[in-house]
Subunit: 284 residues, 2 copies
DNA sequence: CACCTTAAATCGAAAAATCCGATATTACCC
DNA sequence: GGGTAATATCGGATTTTTCGATTTAAGGTG
């Protein structure tokens, strides 16, 4: 059965007329007639009552309506979501950590745009775990994340090691093993491990956030301190809006590039990776 | 786009092989090949990577999968729900009150089976209000209910007047305007009105149920009293398991037959109504 | 390296479906 | 009975789909 037949059905149901439906769908009335007939034959059930002033749904037709709707919609959505513009060759699906949107996703999109304009790009921004799931399910071509899980069909490469430093809105030092107004930013499992090792007696912090930028905004507005990626806060330190807490331990946070072992499109992946590496000129 | 194409897609995705999918769908492998090709062309996107040992979904293919699934499913469900067996001519959709299943729906189905075997019958059993909704939405050909709302396109006929009598598991009379272990069965709006008129000072009952048979079962098991349809409890009174409470007021509950004014199939409706009337030999 | 095997792609022809345009039919209104 | 506004039907052109046979591609194997 054809989706266009169901679309015709929906249009007739909506307009109450074969002719109007035909106009809307840019076909002749006889075509609509044939399509409805085909539907009715395959379902072996009448869908419309033909009256002098148009067509009206039967009880069966009404029942059919919701199914037709979902079928037509899912096809339309499929096209919207995955159809590729004519001038594009393929789509790369990249997943990045929420925190990495500014630092990685945005410049990568930029790079792709100018260096591989025949490739469309889609980016999913999520936490590590959902990204892993999507990778495993084949919904992503590649992803950049912390805490990857090794899997036979996945290749994991080290991508970038970030330095997490303790900063504060006022110049200060570590006091009583903890600074005031401390916000715990969840930078992933390995960070949590290092953190509790470095501050074994620290009480659980009042505030705990999952996304770096959220925590940073909070601190900038209300004051406080927390661990953030050095690169991100560097400009703010230079401006004098933030201060590095001396003597506080630093943490390293490794980031990994993960992708399917035998990808659906080798060149595609290679280009995407090239783009990713190129936006990290500071790495060796 | 054709549903069968998507089915082919799903089958290839499931089996990982064009050939196996072809076998399952009873077509040739070249057909599968063409169908997938058609899909890929219309979406302008590759769905499978063809490998030596079969076909594997691309990221795009994975994304498409859920849409294909819902589209195919909705068509299949539509067929299941509304397709008519070859030897049937039409389906009547009847709605009855929950309480009326035994008294009306079951015997009607029986009647239809023997007197109009070329008509399929579907019954929806619900409360009055949802039945009205379904009628209004054209999902039912006719319904039997209490408290119908008048609407221009609906015909309402009186169908049956039931007598509600107060019964109890022990012989007793009305005491202090209320009997013990009383269960309030919600027999609809007009009953509620009559009830509160007859027992103006009655405290709200401990138990209140919406379906007659549920309340009846409760009483039979745990003892108690309540209003029930005379016809239903008559055999139980005869058995000595229930007793009629003397002096208690009786209530009438009118039931209506409601259907579309100009139905999609006049004969169909007429037959159905004839069947309904015929199972009420006790009415004038 | 030549050969084999397995899986998918392609090709040509037959079959089926779809669509159009014109015309027929139907029901109702005047 | 004629007119009108709707859908149904018909014949033929066109397009799509299918099949069966063959070809191509990518790995294995001796």
């Amino acid at each position: 059965m054809n989706i266009e037949h169901m679309r015709a059905f929906l249009e007739v149901a909506a307009t109450g007329s074969f002719q109007l439906a035909a106009d809307k769908l840019h076909v002749t009335q006889s075509t609509i007639s044939a399509r409805i007939k085909a539907l009715e034959e395959r379902l072996n059930r009448q869908l419309f009552v033909r009256r002098r002033n148009g067509a009206e749904l039967t009880a069966g037709g009404h029942h059919f309506h919701r199914h037709a709707l979902t079928a037509v919609r899912s096809w339309d959505r499929a096209r919207q979501e995955i159809a590729l513009p004519d001038d594009m060759k393929a789509i790369v699906n990249l997943g990045v950590q929420l925190n990495h949107w500014d630092r990685i996703a945005a410049p990568w999109l930029n790079w792709m745009n100018s260096n591989a304009s025949n490739l469309a790009a889609q980016i999913v921004s999520e936490y590590s775990e959902p990204l892993m799931h999507r990778l495993r399910d084949g919904l992503l071509d590649l992803a950049i994340l912390y805490d990857p899980q090794q899997r036979p069909e996945l290749v994991i490469e080290s991508f970038l090691v970030e330095k997490l430093i303790l900063i504060s809105t006022t110049p200060r030092q570590v006091e009583a093993e903890r600074v005031q107004g401390y916000i715990f930013v969840d930078w992933g499992d390995s960070f949590k491990a290092q953190h509790s090792l470095a501050f074994p007696n620290a009480p659980s912090p009042k505030l705990s956030v999952g996304i770096g930028s959220v925590g940073l905004n909070h601190i900038l507005q209300h004051g406080g301190s927390g661990y953030f990626i050095e690169e991100t806060v560097k400009p703010l330190i230079a401006e004098g809006r933030l201060f590095r807490v001396k003597d506080a331990p630093e943490f390293k946070r490794p980031t990994y590039l993960v992708y399917q072992d035998n990808p659906s499109d080798h060149d595609l992946l290679e280009t995407a990776i090239k783009g990713l590496r190129s936006i990290l000129p500071d790495t060796v």
